[in-house]
Symmetry: C2
Amino acid sequence: MLVLRKPYLLYLGDATVKSDCKTAFGLRDWCRSDVLGEWSHPRGTVTLDLPRLAPKEAAARGAGSIVVGVASTGGVLPDHWQDDLEAALLAGMDAVSGMHTRLESFPRLVRAAAVGGGRLVNVRHPGNSHQVASGRKRAGKRVLTVGTDCALGKKYTALAIARALGGAGVPATFRATGQTGIMIAGSGIPIDATISDFIAGAAEELSPDNAPDHWDVIEGQGSLYHPAYAAVTLGLLHGSQADAIVLCHDPQRITIEEYPDFPIPPLPEVIDFYLRAGRLTNRAIRCVGLSINSSALGDAAWNDYRHRLERELSLPVCDPLRTGVAPLVAGLLLP
Amino acid sequence: MLVLRKPYLLYLGDATVKSDCKTAFGLRDWCRSDVLGEWSHPRGTVTLDLPRLAPKEAAARGAGSIVVGVASTGGVLPDHWQDDLEAALLAGMDAVSGMHTRLESFPRLVRAAAVGGGRLVNVRHPGNSHQVASGRKRAGKRVLTVGTDCALGKKYTALAIARALGGAGVPATFRATGQTGIMIAGSGIPIDATISDFIAGAAEELSPDNAPDHWDVIEGQGSLYHPAYAAVTLGLLHGSQADAIVLCHDPQRITIEEYPDFPIPPLPEVIDFYLRAGRLTNRAIRCVGLSINSSALGDAAWNDYRHRLERELSLPVCDPLRTGVAPLVAGLLLP
């Protein structure tokens, strides 16, 4: 399991477009108390409205890591970004990146880490090896967010459920399986980067035995209907031994994104297939509701869509941004 | 894709038990014409009844690789085995191993390969990186052997079908996904060693576009009912875009091997689930029959079992060792 050193200094490079800084905004929104401040190159214009701290100053205030919170083009790390990461490393901090390109490929950063004693952490790449899954039933409860496709709110939904459970006094832990999620949680396993034989084993490791009333809220990946990534989804589902799933969907998505020949089936069929697959490692698996990314729908259309779906599926239908996730949480806590 | 250099010299170490040399016997039985001979340490007593050739002599006769055809204990490569591999490498051959331990971890072999110019090939480890699956339909036909569990005849069945297709004048290629299969075929992809995101992509690469009447006969791995390996099975199924599957089963297997809490479901349910999962990338997928490992059954019991299953499933039921695979091949060739 990757474990990061908090608190963070969020690095924005010289970004001028907010959407290039999704990682930084996600960290600000979901683990604000773990973030000391932000830093960027003078040419950058994006801000998170957090205190500006130069790396050296952040280190003096106890920052554990500088986190690259901005997408770079083609995995290139511009020289002036390297200046800032180098300064943080020389001050003893870790440098954390979700880029495909490993930080070790930049000699200046390798030297600076050696001098400062910090680590170069590549969240996209697994830090260690995993065991073959045992299939052994673990103590505690687990909910996994699953999807009709990639990139339609599985991470956001899991974070919202974990927060709502905590708010209701239920012990709960968000379990991260992707790079941004791992940065938010401060630990996790980039499940799609594991060796195929060990996917389910890695998922078992991610949510170990816990108190009987504790919920692990596990960030889903991919989709059982994705022609490239369904294997990742299945391994994660099996290793999670999910007691419950929440199906995430975007009504605008008619086919798998970038795969126009792969239509998304009717939602009842999708739920049935997830439950059938999940039953292998947890016979009591159930679907507690749907999380819809309804950003394209006006209020009337959303209400219409939601009520129609609730009638059709006999399950609660939420949009975390619009309605919150209380009905999903209520479903989890049903005896 | 891993590509090996044939013909082979099969190396038996100092084995005294035949079952330790399954790889070597498999190669002798399935690619005899690619094998020049065998070699072993004087203390060894197992023989394949092939010409004995010292490494240097084999190299002089054109051998491309020395293949470790014997299981070593705990991944250790005894010194006197290293003597023989070193001699082969110094004579310019490749050394091929299916051990977990990489050949590169033995300095003598690294040096000998550098001198001789040959390669150290670790069949269990992927030789290169793969693409994300495209889902694009490829020309040619594909049959995949699938199973209720691991280790019950998927490789053997695929080899038998490929051989029978060839014997019937149908163009066919055995596509290997595991270490012994790769040694037999001389090329392939160890699918369970690929990075999770690329399983289906690797399977696509393994069986590229081909002539419309050509069959790729793909060696299956794992089982959709295996709590640790189902993800590998699903990725291989999706990337293969199988037109047909053959279900392999051992009637003695009541639960997944080494997982006594995981019962094997009734076979009609197993077939239905494989077809449902496979439909994602090939809507015309069908099951052409069953391949049964019936070694535990006497003739009367086998006939009884077979006829009962054929009636229940309305599909041909074979044991490649007992009946051959003609009914499976006939099913593939149905218009």
